[in-house]
């Protein structure tokens, strides 16, 4: 984990209130893996103190990309930055996803911007077969498919705008049910990232069907590297920090009620 300055080399609006941001930093030997995140300082008109956590959407040597949605002070500041501006950041933070099995069928379920770390997973591990299910409740927040496919892997993208429920709870259940009816092989592993309620539901489903489930959790964070206990929550193995012990967890270990 290092602190560095990232120079913005790409910044584009890809959906309503949603931006793709790529930053180049000088350190060349950094390994950034899928599931990890960056702590990005977001200075500007709106005063901010803490850095903001964003999942890595893509990374290559010296470059890290995120996809973010404008929701408040820091992300509003961010949206006003331009190519050439530079931002302080800490990276990589947290533990990556476990390595997807090459032979098996890895199913990725992303709700909203939960897509970000899953996209990087498909890109980082080109070999294992993935099925990528992506849902969002608002059509205008849909991330263009070409961005998700630009890694050159053949993805199965299932979209479902039919639900007005903004937690998109139905979307994975519908799909999981459909999947289990139509498919012959069962997923060897499910990776899920999105709203907490979504991850909780998927985990419940997976535990019933005995499918290994890995989730990437969110929490209000201060430090992002395990020293403040601002993001602690209860797991079956006791208190854990989202930022340092996670954000990737075995879903079956999470005590969902403790993640308000």
């Amino acid at each position: 984990m290092i602190k560095t300055n990232g120079e913005i080399i790409e910044h584009q609006c890809i959906a309503k209130h949603i931006f793709l941001l790529s930053l180049r930093y000088p350190e060349s030997n950094l390994i950034v893996e899928p599931g990890q995140f960056v702590q990005l300082s977001c200075p500007g008109k709106h005063t901010t103190l803490l850095k903001r956590p964003f999942s890595v959407f893509d990374a290559s040597p010296n470059i890290v990309s995120i996809v973010y949605k404008v929701v408040g002070k820091g992300t509003t500041n961010l949206s006003e930055k331009r190519v050439g501006d530079s931002l302080e950041m800490i990276l990589p933070c947290g533990n990556p996803f476990s390595i997807p099995q090459e032979g098996g069928l890895n199913v990725l379920i992303g709700g909203g911007l939960g897509i970000a770390p899953l996209h990087f997973l498909t890109k980082y591990y080109p070999k294992p077969p993935f099925e990528f299910w992506y849902g969002t409740s608002y059509e205008e927040e849909w991330i263009p498919a070409n961005l998700l496919q630009r890694s050159g892997i053949d993805l199965h993208i299932h979209a479902d705008f039919s639900t007005s429920n903004h937690h998109s709870l139905q979307f994975p259940e519908n799909l999981l049910q459909k999947y289990q009816k139509e498919s012959t092989t069962s997923p060897t592993k499910i990776y899920c990232c999105g709203p907490t309620k979504l991850m909780q539901n998927v985990t419940k489903h997976c535990m019933e069907k005995n499918i290994p489930i890995e989730v990437s959790l969110e929490s209000r964070m201060a430090c992002g590297f395990g020293i403040c206990l601002g993001c602690s929550f209860l797991t079956k193995d006791g208190m854990k920090t989202v930022c340092k012990d996670g954000p990737t967890f075995d879903g079956s270990n999470v005590i969902w009620e403790s993640l308000t």
Binding site: M1, I90, F225, G230, S232, K244, S258, T260
Partner: protein
């Protein structure tokens, strides 16, 4: 240029501890040091101070625990820690392996708990014990120990009896009356005072119009509170010039450190800024060195100098 060393000495009538420099992490904003030690060598710090330990393990408060305010941070961590036996087993070996001043913070909810903690810590070869009397006392309706003068006196007396360590009382910035609390700290033979802890604040979620934190109240820290912390340090030095003061509240750069020293602090603790920038402490040490060099000042003459300038 002729550069003076950054050494500083916390000197009380009975004890003295020498620090390489005045920069110390504030309890609870540095873990127990090991994570940060993987980022840089924490032996270069003036001292290493652990997260407050309680007798029993505590899972702390429910999430959310963090709320950003303008230039500040409200936290409702609630003293989460794995308790004394875990501390002795897991933290102690790492702490004792360090080559700088080793400080342990203890927190109790009853006077007895403070006594127990002090007693157990007495046997460890640490350099100082910071007694977090700014946490709520369950026997006094949850009022902070430092806000009830009788409770404060009794607590400090029994802690002092339980250990021979260099003792620091960490008080709230709201401590009232401050001067009486400092009298008690001196009378009970504590060796230094840390000024101070977070200030009580609340946050309300404007969307739901409900309190943001389950416990409603939370502790405000960060640059927002610096002018207040600096004022309390000033007042403490004014009324108790021989009691060593550790200044704490909102420090984010070397000139902040200089301001706390000039107001009367002998060393400082840095809290929230560790969370913003994990590498801040070594930079503060470096910048402080540069400042002292370019301004041709030494630390001993800087401490309290803003008061002397008036005379």
């Amino acid at each position: 240029m002729n550069c003076n060393p950054l050494q500083t000495t916390l000197q009380s009538p009975r004890h003295s501890i020498q620090l390489k420099n005045p920069i110390v992490p504030a309890s609870g904003t540095f873990g127990n040091g090991s994570i940060v030690h993987s980022l840089y060598d924490i032996n270069q710090l003036g001292a290493v101070l652990t997260k407050s330990i309680t007798v029993e393990p505590r899972s702390g408060n429910p999430s959310p625990r963090i709320y950003e305010t303008p230039s500040g941070l409200l936290n409702s961590v609630g003293l989460e820690n794995k308790g004394l036996p875990w501390f002795l087993e897991e933290v102690q070996p790492f702490l004792l392996s360090l080559e700088t001043s080793k400080w342990v913070s203890i927190a109790g909810f009853t006077i007895e708990e403070f006594e127990t903690l002090a007693h157990v810590m007495d046997t460890l070869p640490i350099d100082a014990l910071e007694v977090n009397v700014s946490c709520p006392n369950i026997h006094a309706n949850g009022v902070q120990f430092c806000q009830n003068m009788a409770v404060l006196e009794e607590t400090l007396r029994r802690v002092r009896k339980a250990t021979h360590h260099f003792l620091i009382a960490k008080i709230a910035l709201e401590t009232n009356p401050l001067s009486q609390a400092l009298d008690i700290i001196e009378q009970e033979n504590f060796d230094a005072v840390c000024i101070g802890n977070t200030i009580r604040g609340i946050a309300i979620d404007a969307e739901t119009r409900k309190p943001f934190f389950h416990k409603i109240f939370a502790g405000l820290s960060g640059p927002a509170i610096k002018p207040i912390a600096l004022r309390v340090v000033w007042e403490a030095y004014d009324s108790h010039p021989t009691l060593p003061i550790i200044g704490c509240g909102g420090i984010q750069c070397a000139s902040d450190v200089i301001e706390f020293l000039a107001a009367g602090a002998t060393s400082v603790e840095v809290g929230t800024l560790n969370l913003v920038d994990p590498f801040i402490l070594p930079r503060l040490i470096q910048d402080l060195e540069t400042y002292c060099c370019t301004h041709q000042i030494d630390l001993p003459n800087t401490i309290g100098s803003a008061h002397h300038s008036l005379r």
